[in-house]
């Protein structure tokens, strides 16, 4: 994060959707209780959504619990029921 306070666009850009290469902040910290709570409830919600398979929900959950902000590719893999070949 920048050292700017205020309504600084630099800060805002940081909060705005960023892509592939920008989202690789490393957070190796153990999960805080709050994060754990969010993830627990999130898993419940994913499992309750019947349009998403349980396997997908569990893969995504496992990814989020690594304590790192996942890379886009990893989210994609976690959400794909089958390992993908090429870019079909």
């Amino acid at each position: 994060m920048s050292s700017c306070s205020l309504n600084c666009p630099q800060w805002q850009l940081d909060d705005v959707p960023k892509l592939r290469n920008s989202v690789n902040e490393q957070h190796n910290n153990p999960l805080s209780p709050t994060v754990t709570k969010v993830l627990d409830e999130y898993l419940d919600t994913l499992l309750a959504d019947e349009s998403l398979g349980d396997a997908v929900a569990k893969q995504l959950d496992a990814l989020l619990r690594t304590g790192k902000v996942p890379k886009i590719e990893d989210i994609d893999t976690a959400l794909s029921p089958l390992p993908k070949g090429g870019d079909g």
Partner: protein
């Protein structure tokens, strides 16, 4: 976490060498401005974290720990500056010493080495908020909602939640764009197939009809149905012998070229024009914003905030400006995070549409170039290729912006580009190509049929595969949006619950320190990337604290919000906090409540508090918040703080007397009695002549205090008599008799009448004479304070307003009923 037992500081900040013995308990440091209190606070922070926020925090550009933490005399030898803390780790039942030098701030030396203890310090390091100054605490209160959201989330260790949210947003955006792209490719395939068939819409019957007509010419069997496996050219000979080139049907090529030239004639489609123009103006606004920002930043005030733009010239470089105008300008230019979000979203939509148009044109041009090259003699395709190349560059710039919003310049020039205009040369090549195809002899009906079926096959297969991709992308996108929406809903709910809990604790704490504000409420409201904090103002509604509340109240709120946040973040690990001057502007009426709040709501937290107000320190002691404290009596650059141990003022007075220094002993005692009198006057609600400047001397305070003390004891005797509590009555009568006797010995009641015993004369007393005075006051104060050695506090009246009902001390050993009804 930990509790600090001792601190040893060498050549650090304004301190040369200093040892403090905290004994693992709450501790107060008191001294006038510039005596080294913050130096101690910095030393604690440094030793535990390797960092000094005051030097490395926001906006401290030129300051650094390495450069400025050592005492100025040792600014070249940072190895001389070191701090050692001995601490107890209650969870491990161990004592350890941790040492750090400014030379190697990242290395903490732990003795005895112990991995479990190391883990505790590592955790502490990730919570540097245990040490906060008044200025830092205030920021939670007065900061703009967008910044508060970040600050509070940092304090609550919620960055990870935000990090995950951003990852989901990014993923959802990518999926959405790729879905749109796939859909555009599908649409192009569909259009191509329609052009080849000469059909305005795709219709199974019609497609089969056209295909079968051509198959008929070749004598092939009729196809009965259209399936993904359908092969139109099944059974057809590979190539027509008369055809110009394999695979190119004159009719199809002419249809393609005609469609292209119709598109060129139509110039920029109206919907794309609208999208392009709206995107362009939004981008220009964004860029302005960026310029305003960098302008502001180059003048260095953006970090301190717009509210500082009050002067008529830049405080840094003296460039004159119109403050109002500049402020308005900046305000208008600096978009909020929310606005930025919606802006980018609508921008992306418009840009995607434009990209679709450009893509379509590029594909058509490439196809035309292939046709040009296929003619015999061929038409030069270079111009067409370079037009197609230019189009894909434009598209790439737009795509780059979608992936990284800072690539504004490229996107703006891409949108300024008139992509639909075809250069003269390229147009000439197109015309030549069209002419070339028109001039081709019509091939035999059979050859035509073969070529047609080949093109049909090719385009049909492309439509099938792009449709499959589009479907998969559509599903992926739906999933991405869903997991994103779920995440948002869940995380918002959890955060809201947290904020509600914090706001509730905050409200409780704040009510506890302002017991008259019964209806007070504080609210924390989270909006995306924004956290508003509003508090009740005398029942007139809730407003940001800075709107109507006084600074003292805001300070109180800051402390309460901080405590509520820490309680929530650390729970029972909140075992240690350093509050530097935080209580400064809590007004006299609320000091006791603040002490009690800390003591009762955070009994397991070790507080280290600094203040420059001696009476405040006295309060903390009287209230039993701290047992020990350290006075910093003065400071100079050679020696650092001069410390004065208050815990034993009597010893110090005795030492002065031993040296026959009566004036010093007199000054010490007078100052000490002044604190105590102020405390007692407040505790007992003594009647003192009011002074606007609150500058009361001993003569103003002490006689009234002593009067009031006797009077309250009398009141207690009356009450005991009323309720027939004979034992209590007898005890209080004895206490009153003792009071009368001890007060008499101090001569305090004679001050007004007999000038020769007045405290102003003390310094002229002989050693023996003054010793008598000292003993008398020591005995009197001993008589008033609680006899429980663990408490030793001075009694006070409750409630604080109206008829007093009880005389008590904080441990409850003194507990005198004053009610007669």
């Amino acid at each position: 976490m930990i509790r600090i037992k001792t601190i040893h500081i060498e050549e650090f900040r304004g301190i040369r060498e200093l040892d403090l013995d905290l004994g693992g308990a709450n501790f107060g440091i008191c001294g006038p401005n510039g005596t080294g209190k913050s130096g101690v606070v910095d030393a604690i922070e440094f030793c535990l974290t390797g960092n000094v926020t005051r030097l490395s925090g926001q906006g401290q550009g030129e300051l650094s720990v390495k450069g400025h933490a050592p005492h100025v005399e040792h600014r070249k030898n940072p190895d001389k500056a070191k701090v050692a803390i001995t601490a107890t780790i209650p969870s491990l039942g161990k004592d350890v010493t941790i040492t750090r030098t400014v030379k190697n701030p990242r290395i903490m030396i732990l003795t005895p080495a112990d991995p479990a203890a190391e883990a505790v310090f590592d955790e502490l390091q990730s919570h540097p908020e245990f040490a906060l100054s008044r200025r830092e605490i205030a920021k939670y209160i007065v900061t703009p909602p967008a910044q508060r959201s970040t600050d509070v989330q940092n304090l609550l260790r919620l960055e990870h939640i935000g990090g995950l949210r951003r990852a989901f947003v990014s993923y959802a955006n990518i999926c959405k764009r790729e879905d749109e792209e796939a859909e555009r490719a599908r649409k192009r395939a569909e259009d191509d197939l329609k052009t080849a068939l000469g059909l305005p819409a795709l219709d199974r019957e019609k497609v089969l009809e056209r295909a079968n007509a051509q198959r008929g010419i070749l004598g092939l069997p009729t196809l009965a149905e259209l399936t993904p496996q359908t092969s139109f050219k099944e059974g057809a000979p590979k190539d027509g012998k008369d055809s110009e080139k394999p695979g190119i049907a004159k009719d199809v090529a002419l249809a393609d070229l005609a469609a292209l030239s119709a598109a060129i004639k139509a110039a920029e489609p109206a919907t794309l024009k609208a999208h392009r123009e709206s995107a362009l103006s939004a981008l220009r606004k964004l860029k302005e914003d960026e310029r305003a920002l960098s302008l502001a930043r180059s003048h260095g005030f953006i970090t301190t905030g717009l509210q500082l733009v009050t002067e008529d010239a830049c405080p840094l470089c003296d460039t004159p400006w119109n403050a109002d105008e500049l402020r308005e300008h900046l305000k208008a230019k600096l978009l909020s995070a929310e606005e930025m979000g919606t802006l980018l979203e609508s921008l992306n939509k418009a840009i995607s549409a434009v990209m679709g148009g450009i893509d379509e044109r590029a594909t058509a041009i490439r196809k035309a170039a292939d046709y040009a090259g296929a003619l015999n003699p061929s038409v030069l395709r270079a111009e067409l290729d370079s037009y197609a190349e230019a189009l894909s560059d434009v598209k790439a710039s737009l795509k780059a912006f979608q992936e990284d919003p800072s690539k504004i310049e490229g996107a703006i020039s891409a949108l300024e580009n008139k992509w639909w205009e075809v250069g003269k040369e390229a147009q000439a090549r197109l015309d030549e190509t069209q002419k070339g195809f028109t001039a081709l002899p019509d091939s035999s009906a059979k050859d035509k049929a073969i070529a047609f079926l080949a093109v049909l096959q090719d385009r049909y297969e492309r439509l099938l595969s792009t449709t499959r991709t589009a479907k998969a992308m559509g599903m992926r996108n739906a999933t991405a949006q869903k997991v994103h929406d779920h995440y948002n809903a869940v995380s918002n709910k959890v955060l809201e619950d947290i904020y509600d809990a914090v706001a509730k604790d905050f409200t409780d704490f704040y009510k506890a320190i302002n017991d008259d504000e019964g209806k007070f409420v504080g609210e924390l409201k989270a909006e995306p990337a924004k956290l508003s904090f509003n508090v009740d103002f005398y029942g007139r509604g809730t407003f940001p604290p800075g709107a109507y509340h006084s600074e003292g109240h805001q300070d109180g709120m800051g402390l309460c919000l901080y405590l509520a946040l820490m309680k929530h973040t650390l729970g029972d690990k909140f075992s240690f906090a350093v509050l530097d001057d935080v209580l400064m502007s809590v007004d006299t009426g609320h000091r006791r409540e603040v002490c009690r709040l800390l003591k009762t709501k955070f009994p397991d937290t070790q507080f280290i508090l600094t203040t420059h107000d001696r009476v405040w320190l006295q309060y903390m002691k009287t209230e039993g918040l701290i047992q020990k404290g350290q006075f910093f009596g003065g400071w100079n650059i050679e020696t650092g703080p001069r410390i004065w141990d208050d815990t034993d003022v009597w010893t110090e007075i005795q030492e002065a007397l031993d040296k026959d220094d009566v004036p010093r002993a007199a000054a010490l005692m007078r100052r000490y009695l002044e604190y105590i009198s102020a405390v007692l006057a407040d505790n007992l609600r003594a009647q003192v002549e009011y002074r606007g400047d609150a500058n009361y001397d001993l003569g103003d305070l002490l006689p009234s205090v002593l009067d009031r003390w006797k009077n309250r004891l009398e009141k207690g005797i009356k009450s005991a008599a009323h309720w027939d509590h004979d034992e209590t009555k007898a005890a209080l009568e004895a206490k009153l008799a003792e009071a009368t006797m001890l007060i008499q010995k101090t001569n305090a009641e004679q001050w007004a009448i007999n000038k020769s015993v007045h405290f102003n004369e003390w310094e002229n007393f002989t050693r023996t004479e003054f010793k008598e005075v000292t003993d008398a006051f020591k005995a009197l104060l001993g008589h008033i304070r609680c006899q429980n050695p663990k408490c030793g506090g001075y009694p006070y009246l409750t409630p604080r307003k109206g008829a007093s009902e009880q005389l008590r001390c904080s441990c409850g050993s003194i507990n005198v009923n004053l009610k007669t009804k």
